[in-house]
């Protein structure tokens, strides 16, 4: 855990110096992903924008292994000035003004066409191989930080099963 925190700090410094993460998010301690009774986040990634479009989309899966519904209230990104949660509704993408319910013993997948976090007014170019810090704020579980790799426009979603929520590194 200590190592992970140190590594996270180093990563934040390195990324910060690259101008990627202007508002580096402190790495919180959190419980291991997938453990019973937790909210965890995995499979996070960001698709690089298609210039001149100054907007990128972040995707992830949230697991709720508690017996209570929780709510993802907002997502903050280190890569751009604004981040908006969008989910598919009736065939179109709409802003989830009241956040997103993560059902008890359930999961919510944000993927292409289903939902994403739209990161706008990017601080700098985003290209494949970089990473973006995301802070997901949950009403009950509180903030959870994830580090999302940036993938190329046409690249498939990463399929790795390693949880990307902080504190779960071993």
């Amino acid at each position: 855990m200590r190592w992970a925190a140190v590594a996270g700090g180093v990563a934040a410094v390195v990324l910060g110096s690259a101008g990627l993460v202007r508002a580096a998010i402190p790495q919180h301690e959190s419980t291991g992903s997938g453990a019973p009774g937790t909210i965890s986040v995995s499979g996070a990634y960001v698709r690089a924008p298609a210039p001149p479009t100054d907007a990128a989309a972040a995707y992830f899966t949230v697991y709720n292994t508690t017996g209570q519904d929780d709510r993802l209230t907002q997502v903050v990104s280190g890569a751009g000035a604004t981040s908006t949660l969008h989910v598919e509704s009736g065939g179109s993408m709409v802003a989830a003004a009241n956040g997103l319910v993560i059902p008890a013993h359930g999961s919510v997948v944000l993927s292409t066409g289903k939902g994403h976090v739209m990161i706008e007014h990017l601080f700098d170019k985003l290209t494949a191989g970089q990473t973006v810090n995301l802070e997901l704020d949950f009403r009950t579980a509180g903030p959870i930080d994830v580090v999302a790799p940036v993938i190329a426009l046409g690249a498939p979603a990463p399929t790795g099963t390693a949880p990307s929520s902080s504190g779960a590194h071993s």
Partner: protein, 209 residues
């Protein structure tokens, strides 16, 4: 009618998603809409087949582009979207681009990819051209970006039988239509994790028909 088809497409998407997650190595020819004509296709079958529409819009160089006559006889992928879109639009265009690299070069060279913006205010010719350039690297196909007045874009969508975009073009159909050399669309696609494979497969089916 449109609603019916939308429902079918959504059902199709659900079925496709199911196939994708089951880990089947080689997708079978589509059984999405039994009796609906999707037979040889991996995309969603369109019944009845839709004739290639005729409309004239403006290309990224500012010149008139008569869609019907220019693309007639060519395999053509037609998509309505907008450039200030982080999600479905660039993902779909990237999938098209990759699919075209998986088909024989001669077929790719005959194929038109036509992107029509639904954001008539923000998507100027140069913006569309720069955006399309993200997807045309090494491409043999003809990539065309079109724009027009709101009335022209509405009319083009109606002619192509896709639902009209709203909300300054940001709420739009995600349907990707494929017209064959016979000038009919018998298959359409929605965003899916297997979209690249579907397009590459069906483009060859359509071209051989």
């Amino acid at each position: 009618m449109n609603r019916c088809r939308a429902v079918l497409l959504i059902l199709a998407l659900v079925v496709l998603a199911g196939c994708a997650s089951s880990g089947t190595a080689k997708p079978k020819p589509s059984e999405l809409n039994p009796g609906q004509g999707s037979g040889p296709y991996q995309g969603a079958g369109l019944t009845p087949a839709q004739p290639r529409p005729s409309f004239t819009l403006t290309d990224t160089a500012g010149k008139p582009f008569p869609f019907g006559t220019t693309t007639a006889g060519h395999p053509t992928l037609l998509y309505f979207g907008y450039t200030h879109c982080p999600d479905v639009c660039p993902a779909t265009m990237a999938d098209i681009s990759i699919a075209l690299k998986r088909v024989p070069a001669a077929l790719a060279a005959k194929t038109y990819v036509v992107f029509i913006t639904t954001d008539v205010k923000r998507d100027s010719g140069p913006v569309i051209a720069q955006w399309l350039a993200n997807f045309t690297d090494g491409a043999k196909a003809h990539f065309v970006g079109l724009r027009g007045t709101q009335d022209q874009i509405d009319a083009a969508q109606a002619a192509a039988h896709v639902s009209l975009a709203s909300d300054e073009g940001q709420t739009h159909s995600s349907e990707l239509l494929l017209y064959g050399p016979d000038d009919y669309a018998r298959v359409a696609f929605l965003q899916s994790t297997t979209l690249q494979k579907q397009i590459a497969h069906d483009l060859q089916v359509v071209a051989a028909a």
